[in-house]
Symmetry: C2
Subunit: 300 residues, 2 copies
Amino acid sequence: MKVLIVGSVALDTIKTPFGKVKDILGGSAVYSSTSASNFAPVNLVAVVGEDFPKKHIEFLMAKGINLKGMEIVKNGKTFRWEGEYGWDFADPKTLATHLNVFASFDPVIPAQYRDSEFLFLANIDPVIQTKVLSQVNKPKLILCDTMNYWISSKRAELIKLLKKVDIFLLNESEAKQLSGEAGVVKAVRAIFKMGAKRLIVKKGEHGAMLFSKAHVFCAPAYLLESVYDPTGAGDTFAGGFIGYLAKCGKVTEENLRRAIIYGNIMATFAVEDFSLRRLAKVTKKDIEKRFDEYKKLTCF
Amino acid sequence: MKVLIVGSVALDTIKTPFGKVKDILGGSAVYSSTSASNFAPVNLVAVVGEDFPKKHIEFLMAKGINLKGMEIVKNGKTFRWEGEYGWDFADPKTLATHLNVFASFDPVIPAQYRDSEFLFLANIDPVIQTKVLSQVNKPKLILCDTMNYWISSKRAELIKLLKKVDIFLLNESEAKQLSGEAGVVKAVRAIFKMGAKRLIVKKGEHGAMLFSKAHVFCAPAYLLESVYDPTGAGDTFAGGFIGYLAKCGKVTEENLRRAIIYGNIMATFAVEDFSLRRLAKVTKKDIEKRFDEYKKLTCF
């Protein structure tokens, strides 16, 4: 089944203790689409400027990603983000954000996309995410991401939105911020009270947790020798998660759990090099090898 | 099979955001012995002063813990520790340490203890831990704990000791401190190079990892609604771990992995109330119930 992804396409300038890269391919929609494309066909909705390099378009198309919904704005400039990571690879310091064409992003879902069964609303303004929802037929599953900025600046809109989606995606500190609770379990309970159906709480190097009202699933992260650039890890996780579910076609507790593992595994490829350098080259064999290693790492 | 535990018996004064308690039962040997006693017979070696309350001795004996090796120093005062936790329940702030009789602790292993098959060297001076080793016949398994203080003040002695034990127990920051590496995987590799055979890296609320040269096992923590007092969690983990292995009688990869889970589970009981209030009342049924819940929480 098909995955529809709506989010950002960016040119990132990133500094880590290992080096610096300028204007490389990035953005939530790029990481998640590339990740999902390993499992299922992807329909992408995004916006770029005329300066967006042709080679990136060719790369995404080679991955089988449908770009019918990627608008190229004449004379426009692509969204740019500049950030820096310290040795702990925690939240990066944002050095510059140039929204450019992304400032007036008003996604239009092409008619041929409307029957996509799996929808990922990557992290953008919840008002825009809500507008996307009004343009699609009821998908089998809606996954929605957000960030601390929207939790504080568009709280009411976000809470209205989270009732309409099937799985709401947050990291641990965002869950605490949204709920006002200091512990994860209490935070999750509070967000369920706001109307959420299912929650994924990402814990970075400590893995991820999936909460529904009847079940909890805890998955430790795959063990990595070293992290090179964590940009896009969360989006790559989301892409692997929803891509695997689309491949299965059915949303069952078992498939959801395995989707979390595949999401974790895809994220490990994203952080092993700058931009999509490693992720772009991942094969099905690489993925299955890590899945088997992950099983050995966690079974008892 | 029997477990021999050498460590501290203390009277703790603890402040957490939930309340304060004064001179309550604590110490590494107490938490670990109580935890291990749920699985196997325990022989305890420690020292207390004449002020040590009789009710605590009765409690330990009721748990089937052999106190032949617990010296009561005439006119001596029991080791006291005073600490305070903030809302994050990270490393406590030590407000006072009165070593008292513990300052001259020179453990003598009673003859009847010497054939204990499983030995836990709880966190004390590595010089004393080494002296204990010279007093026992070769046990089936030696588990050894330490802390940041010894890593910096008795580094050479500690590195000499870690070659002699079967499993060396550290938390994440201690592993980084000992190795000088920023990442866990690299830290573990460096400690293996120092001569360690197996390592357990504790990650607090994120679980624990077991490293041998051929295998890695990652176990997320059991999900707790709230933490009340984390004092003794690591020692309770160690006691559950070695107690379960002693019950099995054989050190296999499978038993080691299950021992990590039992250690995790025992630690959850320790943190749910001050001192040993909850841990003291744990039944075999409580433990198996959590083990089953843990399986559901992690299977995929």
